[in-house]
């Protein structure tokens, strides 16, 4: 067994068939920023929609280099995949500010009959930009943990004529108040497509699609597109200063036959999610059998925040 195979089996718990195993020290491996659709007249213009994807910064290979310690590097070498935001944020309950999100996606497809389970697992870390020290009237004014609103991972899937967004988000901070809890993607039953799109008529978006952008948000952290994971509070490692990264593990397993969540793990804690339905809607044209794993990160203040992915495995059985 090669050292690569030993590391795969030691660090990850893949299902029987590994669809992709990406170590970002070797390159971007097909992960890129989600962009708008360039389909309109006269010059590949973008369809009118509320969601502003053209302000999401590019994903990049990061050496995680900081002002004082220099290069942090990754868990598997020098480089990790970095998602970043622009230094802009709106209050939690408002429509997201353009550029407040960073997003990464890879595009694949179902390839083998009878593949029921689908799983994504990764090693990640996150931090806020060490730009300026906030007001000196609180302890550790140069520690910016509360600037990170949320991050997450999941899938955009379409199979059997149904499309669903499934994923987990770590709601870290709401308007500066630490929440530190996991939520799963599932839109509220009673809301309409119009409410999902902030009251705008005629937007193409359907309830449950693109929840990082759409869906009403409420002051206590509730969100029309996410529900609290029972017993989902978890304090992740945000080390003593913004320039210390600790690599942490998370894994999400899905059942594409029942269209349900199965299991979520972060660090050494595992949640049984069986019975929680995916938010399935009628499929879109031309994308049946699509598997798009994705990550995102959002900022809670006018400061860039970063999500780093060292390595990621997508598997099926």
């Amino acid at each position: 067994m090669s050292i690569d195979e030993i590391l795969l089996r030691s660090r990850f718990s893949p299902l029987k068939r590994v669809l992709s195993y990406d170590i970002f020290n070797t390159g971007l491996n097909g992960w890129m920023t989600l962009m708008p659709n360039f389909t309109e007249y006269p010059d590949f213009d973008v369809p009118k929609t509320l969601v502003c994807k053209d302000q999401w910064p590019p994903v990049m290979l990061s050496s995680a280099t900081y002002r004082y310690p220099g290069t942090h590097g990754a868990m598997s070498g020098t480089y990790s995949l970095k998602l970043s935001t622009r230094p802009v944020a709106a209050p939690y309950t408002e429509i997201p500010a353009e550029g407040c999100l960073g997003h990464a996606i890879k595009r694949m497809s179902f390839y083998r009959p009878g593949s029921r389970y689908l799983q994504i697992e990764c090693w990640f870390s996150y931090t806020a930009e060490q730009d300026i020290v906030d007001g000196g009237d609180r302890p550790q004014p140069g520690l910016h943990e509360t600037s990170i609103r949320d991050f997450g991972m999941g899938f955009d899937v379409q199979e059997g004529g149904k499309r669903y967004h499934v994923g987990m988000r770590y709601l870290n901070s709401v308007d500066g108040k630490l929440m530190q809890k996991w939520q799963f993607e599932q839109s509220s039953e009673e809301i309409t497509d119009r409410e999902w799109a902030f009251g705008l008529d005629g937007d193409w978006c359907k309830k449950g699609v693109d929840p990082w952008w759409f869906g009403r948000r409420f002051p206590n952290g509730d969100h029309d597109g996410f529900k609290d994971l029972p017993d989902g509070h978890q304090k992740l490692i945000y080390n003593e200063t913004d320039c210390k990264l600790n690599w942490q593990y998370m894994r999400l397993k899905l059942d594409t036959q029942l269209r349900e969540y199965v299991e979520f793990q972060c660090q050494d804690k595992i949640w049984d999610m069986r019975g929680i339905k995916a938010d399935a809607i009628d499929g879109y044209n031309r994308i049946d059998n699509l598997i798009n794993p994705l990550f995102w990160v959002g900022t809670d203040t006018d400061r860039r925040v970063f999500l780093y992915i060292d390595s990621v495995v997508v598997s099926q059985e």
Binding site: M35, T65, Y66, R304
Partner: protein, 109 residues
């Protein structure tokens, strides 16, 4: 085989006045080129762009090259001079009108 990657920095948007591109990490690359596609203009804008480097992605200085000056529509190219380290960006100033830009960075290494 070498690695190559092209990333967007700004996509199909009007600009005027000053702005800086998103801090971009290129430590893995041996060469970097900014591609500036001016798709449309309003009035008679002139774009001046200066490559800047940073140690930490927060504090920036000019890289010592001369500023690049463009006008009109079409594709403009800025080849970043060697020894650029990790964090790079463009500091841009557009005067005399607005430019509708598609701004990318292409790296190889």
């Amino acid at each position: 085989m070498k690695m190559f990657n092209d990333s967007h920095l700004e996509v199909k948007k009007y600009f005027s006045g000053t702005f800086e591109t998103h801090p971009y990490e290129v430590g893995w690359a041996d060469e970097a080129i900014f591609f500036i596609m001016t798709e449309k203009i309003e009035d008679s804008p002139v774009l001046e762009a200066q490559v800047q480097l940073s140690q930490d992605g927060v504090h920036w200085a000019d890289d010592g090259s001369r500023p690049h000056v463009f006008s009109g529509t079409g594709l403009h190219i800025i080849k970043v001079e060697p020894n650029f380290g990790n964090y790079i960006r463009l500091a841009v100033n557009i005067t005399g009108g607005r430019m509708f830009l598609n701004l990318h960075i292409a790296c190889k290494g």
